[in-house]
């Protein structure tokens, strides 16, 4: 049991990193990676929302979709729940903690359309995880996302000072860098069977 948790954590953070190995959540990965500060803010928001959303979608799958045999409605139901959840969380945070709300800022609503969140929710069902395993999986996945985002932001901060050929400036060099980073993470393959 304990061993399996460790394997899940390591596998989601390093081996099957959601951004660099599964290529989910690429748009925030490219969009909010210009500064490490904002990358960290986005990462924290994702950790929070992803864990909460996956827990709720797992309950939804087991207690509603499976019970009424409408598993084929999974995607629609999950999107519905995630979108509503993010809205609710945003409202609660805005009221209870304006400081946190300002820190997360635009990133909270952005997560609504983050495919990594939906991806984790669907994958935990496909992998037939228990509730605890689901939680561990989603925490690991979001930490992996944050790690990739911060590493990438650090590299991009350096790149912004470098003398880059004009034709490669901006998104072009960012995509090349993302590819190299993804290759680097490929080195972790084989760490977990």
């Amino acid at each position: 049991m304990f061993q399996k948790m460790i394997v899940i954590i390591i596998s989601t953070i390093l081996v099957n990193n959601f951004v660099l190995a599964k290529f989910l959540g690429i748009c925030p990965f490219l969009g909010v990676s210009r500064k490490t500060e904002t990358a960290l803010g986005m990462g924290m928001a994702v950790i929070f929302v992803m864990t909460l959303a996956t827990a709720i979608t797992w309950l939804l799958q087991v207690f509603i979709l499976n019970r009424f045999h409408i598993e084929y409605m999974q995607t629609i139901a999950f999107i519905l729940v995630i979108a509503a959840l993010v809205q609710l969380v945003e409202m609660v945070i805005q009221k209870t903690s304006p400081l946190l709300y300002q820190a997360l800022g635009i990133y909270l609503p952005l997560i609504t359309t983050n495919c990594a969140v939906l991806g984790v929710a669907v994958l935990t069902i496909q992998n037939e995880y228990t509730f605890i395993e689901t939680l561990v999986y989603s925490v690991g996945a979001s930490i992996g996302f944050t790690l990739a985002l911060i590493l990438f932001a650090g590299i991009r901060e350096r790149l912004s000072l470098a003398d880059i050929p004009e034709s490669l400036e901006g998104t072009a060099i960012a995509l090349v860098t993302a590819g190299l980073l993804s290759l680097a993470f490929l080195g972790f393959a084989g760490l977990v069977k």
């Binding site: 009424f68 139901a77 519905l80 509503a84 609710l88 009221k95 304006p98």
Partner: protein
């Protein structure tokens, strides 16, 4: 089929109801004047006002902590709009624009060594105090260009920055980035300025730069309005006293005193 419609419909209904109730419970009252002011602000988040972006400034203005004129980037029309929202009268302030107080392009100013490091003035200045022989000279790597939120500065053909006075709002973002401190704000009506920042004595300046001010004090003596003062070997023109007669530019032995406005 029926089960899918009912369960998903029910789910959506519950969620909608929940969100509706939550939006009432967790409603945050926002000040409409803050939003109205934030709407008219330039939105460049340049930080020239000293607040964290335009939203922070809008809040400060609405609560009376600061005046609308403190927004350096706003033209008189925007300030007038803010005044209208707040219901107060604003005195006109003169627009200021940034000037580069250096003419030491690489033709005019000697180099100490060939610099091949990071393409940024703040990095270049760390290596031996910059590659140019004059320790007050423009390094020409365009930190000010990158800092300008309005795209008003570009590096000219001589390797020195050129300011587009139409676009410059006088927010001072570039001034905060320049490691040499050779950018200064001047009132737009000022006719002449002396583009040199050297604090060295005449002999030292002459050795490194052809367009450096030697602090010979000729302009100070010849000015009919006593508008020029010299401090730390740097002459300055007082915009209030300067009549724009041009005697100083004529008498300057190095001919470095220039017309300030290029229009």
């Amino acid at each position: 089929m029926l089960a899918a419609v009912i369960s998903l419909g029910g789910l959506a209904f519950i969620l909608a109801l929940g969100l509706g109730v939550a939006s009432k419970i967790f409603a945050v009252e926002t000040d409409p004047t803050v939003e109205a002011i934030a709407e008219v602000l330039p939105g460049a988040n340049c930080g020239g006002c000293g607040y964290a972006g335009c939203a922070g400034f809008a809040e400060a203005v609405a609560s009376g902590q600061t005046a609308p004129t403190e927004c350096k980037a706003a033209g008189s029309d925007i300030v007038a709009q803010m005044a209208q929202i707040l219901g107060v009268k604003i005195e006109e302030t003169e627009k200021k624009v940034v000037k580069i107080f250096c003419q030491g392009s690489s033709d005019n100013c000697k180099s100490k060594f060939l610099y091949e490091g990071v393409f940024d003035c703040r990095a270049a200045v760390l290596l031996g105090g910059g590659y140019k022989a004059c320790p007050y000279s423009c390094l020409g790597y365009g930190s000010c260009v990158k800092a300008c939120p309005f795209g008003a500065i570009e590096i000219g053909p001589k390797g020195l920055p050129i300011v587009d006075e139409q676009k410059c709002t006088g927010c001072g973002s570039c001034i905060r980035q320049c490691p040499r401190g050779i950018l200064r704000l001047l009132p737009i009506s000022q006719k002449y300025y002396i583009p040199c920042s050297s604090k060295d004595k005449g002999k030292a300046v002459r050795q490194v730069c052809q367009t450096g001010c030697l602090a010979c004090k000729l302009c100070l003596k010849k000015c009919p309005n006593q508008a020029i003062t010299i401090e730390n070997n740097q002459p300055r023109i007082d915009a209030q006293k300067c009549s724009g007669c041009g005697v100083c530019a004529e008498k300057c032995p190095k001919k470095i005193i220039q017309l300030a406005s290029n229009g």
